[in-house]
């Protein structure tokens, strides 16, 4: 299907070399940040303490939970990065989330990292936990919670506890998903205190590790203070107690490895009982062609200067099967490229920016989205756009009205949607291209991506103009008659430059993937060279629990009861 697109890249041209150098710098910076501040958890001494208790590092736990060789689509590694002053580096936001395979079936894994502030929930931790649950609901994935957390981070309890999308929502989601037949398995591999106690208590099945695992609403010091009772951790909420007396947990594990094996067993049983026949396997063709061009061409293609134009089809040619693309309306509204292609054999409708957006582009997009919706084809948005065109001609042409049609189509499309920011994503174009507010199943970024209401330079100009005009107005009231002197002019130019630079750098910083990732505006920053793999995994995950894509509301499935499983 589709015509072959793309051209071989001349890697020896100075421009290409410059591009590559810039992209590699960005990749290295990302890898450095991840290696130094994220992937190793809460530091050497915390890790040593953790392991001296016989506990495995959090990623090791995830690794052992998953099938051998299973991919792990880890989400939002940058969460919490330089977000809180008292904890400037909160590796991965204190919780590792992602999708992997257990007995061949996709599951969402949510795993606390106890080496990071004892696994306590900062506001961003809650947000990340909820996001994982949201993806699980949207994709119809069972969840496994590897619990090792001291509960809410008390100094910030106001931003953790009370609101709709705060801590309580975790259990609400567990109940809803359980009712929908999505297995909720908890493995208690450390403390599980206060609100956290409800994670295993709400789970369909709970496993607890002897000695290291504990569950209680209030720990021994709190009990002592409240009732005067002297009680040990083991008596109060130890693994043996919960498995033999309270019934809060169901299986007693000897150690982390054993617990993870039990979790695998629970999933195996659950998977066969509930979803026989349904699997991660999509109905797609088993074989596919690789793209005609190597994926690391992308480093040479993406301009080092984000303002520079290039043909987005060159990117598509490195992402889609056989570099084949069936383009829809190629000559109409050409600044948005639309069309169909396959990624690892999975059909996908693509909307890719190729310049500033006009009314035609918006109409074409709305039309294309309707076609995909009709045909139950998932949508992929490749963002690289500074916004919609401005100017009287366009306003009079009703560009807002046309853009609204697009936003309308995006909002109501029920097929899986995936957004990948391969450059800037600004203004209303971010909305139209299925930004965070439009609930894409996955939203991913490249290290060069920028997200803000408008580009830094534009913002600097706009803000400067507004400030200057306001100043001019004040000045005008004072000295209406005075002409602007040459002296003032020179002074003003320096001021203008300084002001613009400040605004630009603020926008630059707030629009960076680190700033966005830290706040969970996306599901992760990925290397351009991994894009094809990640997109393949995302598309398959989005289709996993969603057998009939035409009716995605069925992600709350008819299997099971309308209630979750009550722990009796």
């Amino acid at each position: 299907m589709g015509a072959r697109i793309g051209n071989a890249v001349r890697r020896d041209l100075p421009r290409a070399l410059r591009n590559c150098e810039r992209m590699q710098e960005l990749e290295l910076e990302l890898k450095r940040v991840l290696a130094v501040d994220v992937l190793c958890g809460g530091g050497a001494s915390a890790m040593q303490r953790h392991m001296s208790r016989g506990k495995l590092p959090v990623r090791e736990r995830v690794h052992r939970l998953l099938d051998p060789l299973s991919p792990f689509l880890e989400l939002s590694q940058l969460a919490g990065y330089k977000l809180y002053d008292e904890k400037p580096i909160l590796p991965a936001g204190g919780v590792v989330t992602g999708i992997g395979k257990v007995h061949g079936h996709l599951v969402m894994v949510v795993a606390n990292d106890a080496t990071v502030s004892g696994g306590t929930y900062f506001p961003i931790t809650v947000k990340k936990h909820l996001r994982a649950q949201h993806i699980a609901q949207q994709c119809g994935l069972p969840c496994v919670y590897l619990v090792d957390s001291g509960g809410a981070y008390l100094p910030r309890q106001a931003d953790v506890f009370p609101d709709r999308d705060h801590f309580g929502r975790i259990f609400f989601n567990q109940a809803r998903m359980s009712a929908a037949g999505l297995a909720q398995i908890a493995v208690v591999m450390g403390s599980c205190t206060a609100g956290g106690a409800y994670v295993p208590a709400m789970a369909d099945e709970a496993i607890i590790v002897r000695k290291t695992g504990s569950i209680f609403l209030g720990g021994p010091p709190l009990v002592k203070a409240a009732t005067g009772e002297d009680v040990s951790v083991e008596e109060l909420g130890g693994a043996e107690m919960h498995c033999s007396k309270s019934g809060v947990a169901d299986y007693l594990a000897e150690n982390d490895e054993h617990a993870l094996q039990l979790a695998r067993d629970a999933m195996a049983q659950r998977v066969t009982a509930f979803t026989t026949g349904s699997s991660a396997a999509s109905s797609s063709a088993p074989t596919f062609d690789a793209p005609l061009f190597p994926i690391d061409d992308l480093r040479y293609i993406i301009p080092s200067d984000s303002k520079e134009m290039y043909d987005v089809r060159e990117v598509l040619a490195r992402l889609v099967d056989g570099s084949r693309f069936h383009e829809f309306k190629p000559t109409y509204g050409a600044s948005l490229v639309t069309g169909w292609a396959h990624v690892h054999g999975q059909v996908v409708g693509i909307l890719a920016n190729n310049g500033i957006l006009f009314s035609e582009s918006a109409n074409k997009a709305a039309h294309f989205i309707q076609l995909c919706e009709q045909r139950a084809i998932p949508l992929l948005f490749l963002h690289n756009v500074s916004g919609f065109m401005v100017g009287s001609a366009y306003e009079q042409g009703g560009i807002a009205k046309h853009g609204a049609k697009w936003v309308n189509a995006v909002s109501n499309a029920r097929v899986p949607k995936i957004s990948l920011l391969i450059g800037g994503s600004h203004g209303a174009a971010n909305y139209a291209m299925c930004g965070r507010a439009y609930d894409p199943h996955f939203l991913l970024t490249w290290p060069n991506a920028k997200i803000s209401v408008m580009g830094g330079t534009q913002a600097a100009n706009v803000l400067y103009t507004i400030q200057r005009d306001a100043a001019a107005q004040r000045d005008g009231q004072k000295k209406k008659a005075n002409a602007v002197s040459a002296e003032r002019d020179a002074d003003g130019a320096a001021q203008e430059l300084k002001l613009k630079q400040e605004i630009e750098s603020k926008f630059e910083q707030e629009g960076s993937v680190y700033y966005a990732g830290a706040r969970l505006w996306d599901d992760g920053c990925i290397l351009p060279t991994d894009s094809r793999k990640v997109l393949a995994l995302c598309l398959a995950a989005a289709a996993a629990g969603n057998r009939s894509v035409a009716a995605p509301s069925t992600h709350v499935r008819t299997a099971g009861s309308t209630f979750g499983v009550f722990r009796m």
Partner: protein, 721 residues
């Protein structure tokens, strides 16, 4: 002449299979019999008809009455006894021959009787002027005192004790001093009684440096006897043959003619008919060597295939023809000289490191390579495989632990040896300990290669022969690549349409390069404590290109080795991965090496893998236990400290029957005292006290069947030093 249109094969295992093959070739109807333990055995599957015997163990095939009943019932026109069991039971031969319509495929009962008794055989040979080893053969006086007197006064130590009706090393003992004599006599008697139903013994002077030479003969019912050249069976362990060859190397024309004469005379002296073997002992220390008559085996031998390959004769076919009354001159076309050279290796389920203790268990994978190496000339390139077992079959404690035989044929001895070695190197038995590595070591030994060695070679070279190849980093590197490819293939094969199982996404991590970690331990040795030290850990990084890998292997305390591996060709199935690959060391200028052939067999249930690869014209074969990181922790749980670590608990070294218990609770035992005796597969094993101690508990009684590792006796704890 009678027409033998059908045959009942009164045996099991490879020999039953082998007899059935020829019978079928001759168009005969084949009838198998089986003990319930052998219900699904290969010989049963191959036969046209099959009938159940009663007993679960070896006694089933010794139950002559039941077998005769089945001969009657099946209407079989003849009975082929194979070797062992009833093959040298004269009464059974008689009974078969006296049945209305059936004959025994073998010698007449009187010949079996005469030769079956080593005492009688000695007397006949002495009478016929055939040279025999000095000894004692009087059955009238079998008292231990008399035997001891003869041993000490008339023969002199060292002495060989033999069961009169023995064979295959059973009931046989070498005694070097008067002190050991009595114990040896008792245990030989017990073993003989179990195996052959009689416990009479003869004594012979033990010849320390000798070769075991034998002559195949065939005799018809019309008085004609012909030899079919000679064999050398000097490679023996525990008096059992391991490697045999034909013809025997380094014999002069004169010596050969001398032994052919001895053999034919011996056969005539007892009125022999059918196939038989005259065994000789070649005393290397006597002047110019001296040949003695040793005994005559009145049956087809285990090693008969080597004779078949150098004569082009099917001995079983010949047996049927002779039994039907044919004349040798009509049926036998013996070449003037042996055609090239043939060599046989017996594959046993046994542990060479632990005194060749028989092993039992399920054979997870049995790959006996019959392709061999290309050889010049018109000799068959194939290696013959005689085997009664297949993958998934059990080796039980009830029967002989021989799995099968590989027999090669070459223009010269060296060609045959290389071919056999190559075939063995391309074979694999997984799931059970075998002597495969042992026989490969033997075949590569310089003295073996030279030929003409004496029967003590296996003892002299015990250390070398029982050595296992070190688990080298290259093998581990190949293994980790193969494991990865196989697992990836398996997942993809299970869910071909699943994107998440696609090979290119295996082990994908976001912004990370996750290694696949394996721990590899040598698995040759059943003694796990030896292995832990040599554990190699590999970390495998698949490159983006599907068939390139970066592998880091490290042994504790050593610098890691890094290899870059490119898989040029692969053939993957669930059980086996074949690879051709090239690799480089992790140094900038290092050259590329090729491994043209690597074969890796996996047994998941036991985490075992067999890695064989050819590099720089040598084949290495390594047997390992694999733990992936995922499973390492779980395995740790399972390997709880066993009772073996506490020397107060005395375990049985093998599964079998407790036949004697020589201690009782409260008794004081001295180091070296026999505590109890276990028997399995007709071999008895004395378990000795490891130190001076008081016996606390005896857990079993005589007659109990015990499993490998069971605690039989518990001693008082050793007082703290």
């Amino acid at each position: 002449m009678v027409v033998l249109e059908s045959v009942l094969v009164a045996n099991r295992g490879e020999i039953a299979v082998r007899v059935i093959r020829t019978a079928r070739k001759l168009g005969m109807r084949t009838v198998a019999v089986y003990s319930p333990a052998d219900r699904y055995a290969k010989h049963v599957r191959l036969a046209d008809e099959s009938y159940a015997l009663r007993e679960e163990d070896g006694r089933a095939y010794l139950n002559a009455a039941r077998i005769l009943e089945l001969v009657e019932k099946s209407g079989a026109r003849c009975v082929h006894p194979g070797y062992g069991f009833l093959s040298e039971n004269a009464a059974f031969a008689d009974a078969c021959n006296s049945m209305r319509s059936s004959v025994f495929v073998g010698p007449p009962a009187h010949a079996i009787r005469a030769m079956g008794s080593k005492a009688e055989a000695r007397r006949i040979m002495i009478g016929a002027g055939v040279p025999v080893v000095p000894g004692y053969e009087d059955l009238a006086d079998q008292s231990v005192e008399r035997l001891k007197y003869e041993a000490c006064r008339n023969i002199g130590f060292p002495i060989m004790i033999k069961a009169v009706h023995g064979g295959g090393g059973k009931g046989m003992r070498v005694v070097r001093s008067e002190k050991q004599f009595e114990d040896a006599v008792l245990s030989a008697k017990s073993e003989a009684r179990n195996a052959f139903g009689a416990d009479t013994l003869i004594l012979e002077k033990y010849i320390p440096r000798s070769r075991h030479i034998e002559v195949q003969i065939i005799a018809d019912q019309h008085g004609k006897v012909s030899h079919l050249f000679d064999r050398d069976c000097s490679l023996q362990r525990r008096h059992q043959k391991v490697i045999e060859e034909a013809p025997a190397p380094h014999l002069s024309e004169t010596q050969r003619n001398e032994i052919y004469d001895i053999a034919e005379n011996a056969a005539r002296a007892v009125g022999y008919q059918n196939a038989g073997t005259v065994e000789l002992i070649y005393d290397l220390d006597a002047d110019h060597g001296k040949m003695y008559f040793l005994e005559m085996n009145t049956r087809l031998q285990v090693e008969h295939p080597v004779t078949e390959l150098v004569t082009g004769v099917d001995l079983v076919e010949l047996q049927f023809a002779v039994a039907a009354g044919a004349k040798l001159e009509d049926i036998l076309e013996r070449p003037a000289l042996p055609l090239g050279h043939a060599m046989e290796a017996r594959l046993y389920a046994e542990d060479p490191r632990h005194d060749f203790l028989p092993q039992s268990g399920r054979i997870e994978r049995l790959v006996l390579d019959d392709r061999g190496e290309d050889t010049a000339g018109n000799l068959s390139d194939r290696v013959r495989v005689d085997c009664g077992l297949e993958s998934g079959d059990q080796v039980t404690v009830f029967f002989d632990p021989m799995i099968g035989k590989l027999i090669s044929h070459g223009g010269t001895r060296e060609q045959a040896r290389r071919k056999l070695l190559s075939a063995l190197q391309n074979s694999a038995v997984l799931g059970i300990q075998t002597n495969l590595n042992y026989i490969c070591n033997v075949l590569e030994d310089a003295e073996f290669i030279a030929g003409g060695f004496d029967t003590s070679l296996a003892i002299r070279r015990a250390t070398e022969f029982t050595a296992y190849p070190e688990v080298d980093t290259l093998a581990v590197c190949i293994l980790s690549v193969a494991s990865f490819l196989r697992e990836r293939y398996a997942q993809h094969a299970r869910m071909p349409s699943s994107v998440w199982a696609h090979p290119s996404l295996a082990n994908f991590r976001v912004n990370e390069h996750e290694a696949i970690t394996l721990q590899v331990l040598p698995a040759n040795d059943s003694d796990a404590s030896d292995s832990t030290s040599a554990c190699i850990t590999t970390r495998l990084f698949p490159e983006d290109e599907v068939n390139q890998f970066f592998v880091e292997s490290s042994t504790e305390g050593q610098d890691p080795r890094r290899n870059f591996v490119q898989v040029d060709h692969s053939n993957i199935s669930d059980e086996c991965v074949r690879l051709a690959l090239s690799w480089t060391e992790d140094t900038a200028l290092s050259e590329r090496h090729n491994v043209p052939q690597a074969r890796i067999d996996f047994v998941d249930a036991q985490d075992l893998a067999w890695v064989r690869y050819t590099h720089m014209n040598t084949t290495r074969s390594v047997f390992v236990r694999v733990r992936s990181r995922e499973h390492a922790g779980l395995l740790k749980d399972d390997s709880r400290a066993g009772p073996g670590e506490n020397s107060s608990k005395i375990l049985t070294p093998m599964s079998g029957k407790v036949v004697r218990i020589l201690c009782e609770p409260g008794a004081a035992v001295r180091k070296g005292d026999t505590l109890f005796v276990v028997e399995a597969m007709k071999m008895s094993y004395n378990v000795l006290a490891p130190r001076d101690a008081t016996v606390l508990i005896v857990n079993h009684t005589v007659g109990a069947f015990v499993n490998h590792g069971s605690v039989i006796v518990e001693l008082e704890q050793e007082p703290a030093a």
